[in-house]
């Protein structure tokens, strides 16, 4: 293992250990905040998977996040009586529904002559705008103001989980999502996706149904984003149309780009870092904070195309692909 790969591995482990030990040093309020950031981190992972791994730049990732959030809200508020109102059902729907929508959208976009580049970006962006408008006008899901009073995550007996318990629940969910993405990325499937990102035509000529692979990873990503959306709703207690819209789609793109799209952990930590910076700046710089944020962002993009953590957190290739082979 090279030095940089060792550094990447230790920093990744350190980051998770740090997250695990956070309740020892942080107070109740900060843990609540961290829980929110970690939820956004799961969302960022979902984009990191398709963008960093398969090269699909989706400008409408919030569609899946929002559908997940709405699913959770509708179930736990008892608006879908035939499904009951259990949070587990809610989470299951928050994963399944966005997954199906992603599969459908992926099928539309990638079949035949697939959309890519600017076209894919603008079409997904438009899809997000259309979904947001549709959500605003659909009374059943709360219309413009959305739905509120979504119950927080609760223990089986109905009591809301404590701040720390919620944190660990969300944190473990994030860890599992991360491990799932990591598993996909480091399996031969990940190699093939990287191949598609790198040279779609070559991969096609090796006999891969490129379209199917893209739809598959898009679907997995949709499910992850929806899962993040479901967890989000339990913490924030509401859903409303901006959650499926253009603004949030752009935000997640920014998190991933700043964190580093080529490395999953970079995308995850990007969400935490950007949200935290925004909060700090918005508090201390008054009306100049947006200017500072914009400038900082330009700087990262121009000077660090790999993102803040792209280089730092790069892991060694899986053992089977290691330097010098297996012997």
């Amino acid at each position: 293992m090279t030095r940089s790969a060792r550094l990447g591995l230790s920093l990744t482990v350190l980051a998770w250990a740090g997250l695990g030990l956070a309740p020892l040093v942080l107070d109740d309020w900060n843990i609540g905040l961290l829980t929110q950031y970690v939820t956004y981190g799961i969302f960022a992972l979902s984009l990191g998977l398709i963008w960093g791994q398969a090269g699909i730049l989706c400008f409408g990732q919030a569609i899946f996040f929002g559908i997940g959030a709405y699913s959770m809200a509708l179930v736990t508020l008892g608006k879908l009586p035939w499904l009951g109102d259990s949070q587990w059902t809610g989470l299951a729907l928050a994963v399944l529904l966005p997954m199906m929508v992603a599969a459908l959208l992926g099928w539309i976009m990638f079949q035949g002559r697939a959309l890519s580049g600017a076209h894919l970006a603008i079409v997904t962006l438009c899809a997000a705008v259309v979904c947001e408008i549709a959500a605003r006008r659909w009374e059943f899901i709360g219309g413009f103001n959305g739905l509120f009073n979504v119950p927080p995550l609760s223990a089986p007996n109905g009591d809301p989980l404590s701040t720390n318990a919620t944190y660990f629940f969300v944190g473990i969910a994030a860890l599992l999502t991360y491990l799932l993405s990591l598993w996909i990325g480091r399996s031969p499937l990940g190699t093939v996706l990287a191949g598609i990102r790198n040279d779609e035509r070559r991969t096609l000529h090796f006999g891969y149904d490129v379209r199917l692979h893209k739809i598959f990873v898009f679907t997995v990503s949709g499910a992850m984003a929806g899962f993040a959306g479901g967890l989000f709703t339990t913490q924030f207690g509401f859903v409303s149309p901006p959650l499926v819209g253009f603004a949030l789609s752009t935000e997640v793109l920014i998190w991933v780009a700043v964190g580093g799209r080529s490395v999953l952990m970079g995308a995850f930590l990007g969400a935490l870092a950007v949200r935290a910076t925004e909060n700090a700046m918005s508090a201390s710089l008054d009306q100049y904070w947006l200017i500072a944020l914009g400038a900082l962002f330009i700087l990262v993009v121009v000077v660090l195309p790999q993102g803040l953590f792209g280089k730092l957190l790069a892991l060694a290739p899986p053992r089977r692909l290691g330097r010098g082979g297996t012997r």
Binding site: W183, I184, S187, P188, L189, T191, V192, A194, G195, R197, N198, D199, R201, R202, T203, L204, H205, F206, G207, Y208, D209, V210, L212, H213, F216, V217, P317, R320, L321, G322, R323, G324, G325, T326, R327
Partner: protein
């Protein structure tokens, strides 16, 4: 094994593009094992056992040598969809043999964009072998290689034919290399076949010489 010889721009690469499904032909058929495959998409044709080498080496520059090899190795599993790839474990012995074959055994972890041009060409041939195809199409496999390297590639290709029993179609304009392949040759000029036969016969054909060297030779 068959070799198609012809000067640059005579339609060799276009022929490959039609055979592998890159373009649909304007007319005529492409038969593979008796089945007309013209107009099928490239991945379907590839699954029928056709593998193709590109003229500009069709390797993945951002990936490592090992990853480059893994993609064609896993293609057999990949035909059952993405999920089957998740659990797929490539045979390490076979992989190492392929790396040896292309002479990149020590460079498994190197990024392909940064290895030498000749190494990329050899890597791509090894990738075709990894793909386990019946019919291998090689588009100028020695472009950019020195004399010694060319001979090595020629013997590698002969081995594929003799030991592994592959059908091989080579596009080349380098007469010297073609001679080393010891195979039947057709010569294409401007999209049409002008001569065919063994190297010795073809190389004496006046039309071939004209197309290659200009008419006064």
């Amino acid at each position: 094994m068959q070799c198609i010889l012809g000067p640059n721009g005579c339609g060799k690469t276009t022929l490959f593009n039609v055979v592998t499904g890159e373009f649909a032909p304007d007319g005529g058929e492409v038969r593979l094992g008796g089945r007309n495959v013209a107009g099928l998409s490239p991945y379907r044709i590839s699954r029928l056992g056709v593998a193709r080498k590109f003229q500009v080496p069709g390797v993945y520059p951002e990936l490592s040598v090992a990853e480059n090899i893994e993609i064609p190795l896993a293609a057999g599993a990949g035909r059952y969809g993405p999920l089957s790839l998740l659990g797929y474990r490539p045979d390490p012995v076979r992989r190492d043999r392929l790396l040896d074959l292309c002479g990149l055994a020590g460079k498994a972890g190197d990024k392909v964009g940064e290895i030498a041009h000749g190494e990329k060409q050899r890597l791509e041939i090894a990738m075709l072998v990894a793909r386990d195809a019946e019919l291998i199409l090689l588009d100028e496999p020695t472009a950019g290689m020195s004399g010694a390297e060319t001979s090595a590639v020629a013997s590698l290709i002969r081995r594929l034919r003799d030991e592994e029993g592959k059908s091989i179609l080579v596009i080349e304009h380098d007469m010297n290399f073609v001679r080393q392949l010891e195979c039947p040759i057709v010569v294409m000029v401007r999209g049409k076949i002008v001569a065919e036969g063994r190297y010795e016969e073809v190389s004496r054909d006046p039309r071939v010489i004209e197309s290659y060297l200009g008419k006064r030779h």
